[in-house]
């Protein structure tokens, strides 16, 4: 039912990670955007902010609820997808194309799940 691209890594808090050289690109999964419903607001950090592994770096709000975004890595933010500020619904349209932050100088990462393990994890959530 949901899309779990094979080339990405995932967390149990429903973020995805793609490594581009030394930079980690981070977004939320298809499962997450569906669970949230219509997304109407995204609270983003700024470039040069530090993020810490498994700690919140922002939040996503849907009509129904607010949900924290957890950083899968420790590092420094080098880019923020500001398009999401004006058009948060992009996350519902395609949560993989529409990344949220990019992080460099990464010193620590959590243990990622591959696509298959993440799919199993989501399916076990019912």
């Amino acid at each position: 039912m949901f899309n779990y691209p094979k080339k990405l890594l995932y967390t149990e808090t429903h973020e995805w990670v793609k490594k581009e050289g030394d930079i980690y690109v981070i977004g939320i999964s298809d499962y997450a955007q569906d669970a949230l419903g219509d997304i109407v607001f995204v609270n983003l950090p700024e470039v040069d902010d530090e993020v810490f592994v498994q700690e919140p770096f922002g939040d996503v709000e849907s009509v129904k609820a607010v949900s924290d975004l957890y950083s899968p890595v420790t590092g420094v933010i080098c880019d923020v997808n500001e398009e999401l500020l004006d058009n948060p619904a992009l996350l519902n349209e395609d949560s993989y194309k529409n990344w949220i932050i990019k992080v460099e100088e990464v010193s620590e990462t959590e243990e990622f799940l591959d696509a298959e393990s993440y799919r199993e994890f989501c399916e076990s959530q019912g």
Binding site: G37, D38, F41, N43, D59, S62, V63, K64, V66, N92
Partner: protein, 362 residues
């Protein structure tokens, strides 16, 4: 253990996202999503399953006297076939529930109460009804479908002759037949839009749903879930039990004085309401000035002084604004006042505005 309404299988067929609510398993949304469902009701039409609502009947010679004693509104001069909103208070003047009352005969009233309060309401009413009133909880045998939106009339006109469609707001026709199914139809709803609620025996629910879906398709009717029901009522600034009204909040504090008739003889809670006098808090609207979205139970400050809290809030799809209802100190409730709302640890600016947020143009 959650109950299922007679339309549970339909919700699965329509790919509804099922959640527990008020003791029932109900769709919070369908694949269209809350925003599209909300807009469908403002622009075209939406169909809701509200069978979870409780239905309690009062019958007998003293039914009217019982109602007038149990509820805050006055039912004395009510015409048969009319519907009236009321609160039911406890002895302290707090709200046990809010409900609507249909007068179906001189000695027969049909009450629609909140699902989560159904058993509490029944127990309270049974304890306090007068001799000669017969009370019955018939919730499980009744299915309720709400057809809401500017196209509701066009859709229902394909199924009923004009004389079987009530025209005045808050009125009902007790017995009409839609494709042979006996229904009660009323001009009521919880969306701030025109529309109808249809009451029928549970066994008719699936057939009635499918018929309305079929006849509604040319008018872009879509099924709507609890999510849109909540955003629509919030946009129309209608109270929701457990949010704007609770056992600790009086109807006067919640801005529902229009449904409290202090001039009538006696009713449960009247003495307490008199003793409390003019309410010190007021229900108001709030609109965000800073970027952010208000949710329920967030503290409101004016010059660092706590003056109230939000009762419901979200980003509202038709008005496209982050709005909330709040209960605040009446002294600081003037529209235009700039306050700060504690949104998850950050104090963000919002402005007090008049209610309702949305009022349909008739």
């Amino acid at each position: 253990m959650e109950l299922k309404t007679p339309l549970y299988d339909i919700h699965l067929q329509e790919s509804g996202k099922i959640v527990p609510f008020g003791g029932y398993l109900l769709p919070v949304q369908y694949p269209t999503g809350v925003i599209k469902e909300h807009l469908a009701v403002r622009e075209n039409c939406g169909l809701f399953d509200v069978s979870h609502m409780g239905v309690i009947t009062l019958k007998g010679e003293t039914a009217l006297a019982s109602l007038n004693y149990l509820l805050t509104n006055d039912f004395t001069n009510m015409d048969q076939g009319k519907v009236r909103y009321s609160l039911m208070c406890n002895v302290n003047g707090g709200c046990i529930d809010d409900l609507i009352v249909y007068k179906l005969a001189q000695d027969y009233y049909f009450l629609v109460v909140n699902a989560s309060n159904r058993h509490k309401d029944y127990k309270h009413m049974k304890e306090h009804i007068l001799e000669g009133t017969i009370i019955e909880d018939i919730s499980d045998s009744v299915a309720i479908l709400a057809l809401q939106g500017p196209k509701a009339f066009s859709i229902i006109s394909k199924l009923l002759p004009p004389e079987d469609i009530p025209t005045k707001n808050y009125s009902a026709i007790e017995e009409v037949y839609i494709d042979g199914m006996k229904c009660m139809i009323s001009t009521t709803g919880y969306t701030g839009e025109e529309g109808y609620e249809l009451y029928t025996a549970s066994e008719n629910a699936v057939k009635l749903w499918k018929l309305l879906r079929k006849e509604g398709s040319e008018f872009n009717l879509i099924p709507c879930g609890l999510g849109a029901r909540d955003t629509l009522r919030l946009e129309a600034s209608m109270p929701l039990y457990g949010h704007e009204i609770t056992e600790e909040i009086t109807p006067l504090e919640a801005g529902l004085g229009f449904a409290v008739k202090m001039n009538k003889e006696d009713f449960i809670g009247k003495k307490a309401l008199l003793e409390k006098g003019e309410p010190k808090i007021k229900r108001v609207g709030l609109q965000m000035i800073d970027r952010g979205i208000m949710r329920e139970n967030q503290d409101i400050y004016l010059n660092d002084k706590l003056i109230g809290y939000t009762t419901s809030g979200t980003h509202l799809p038709y008005l496209q604004k982050a709005l909330a209802m709040a209960l605040i100190d009446k002294y600081h409730s003037e529209p235009g006042t700039i306050v700060e709302v504690d949104i998850r640890g950050k104090k963000l600016k919002a402005e007090i505005i008049e209610l309702p947020f949305y009022f349909r143009n008739k």
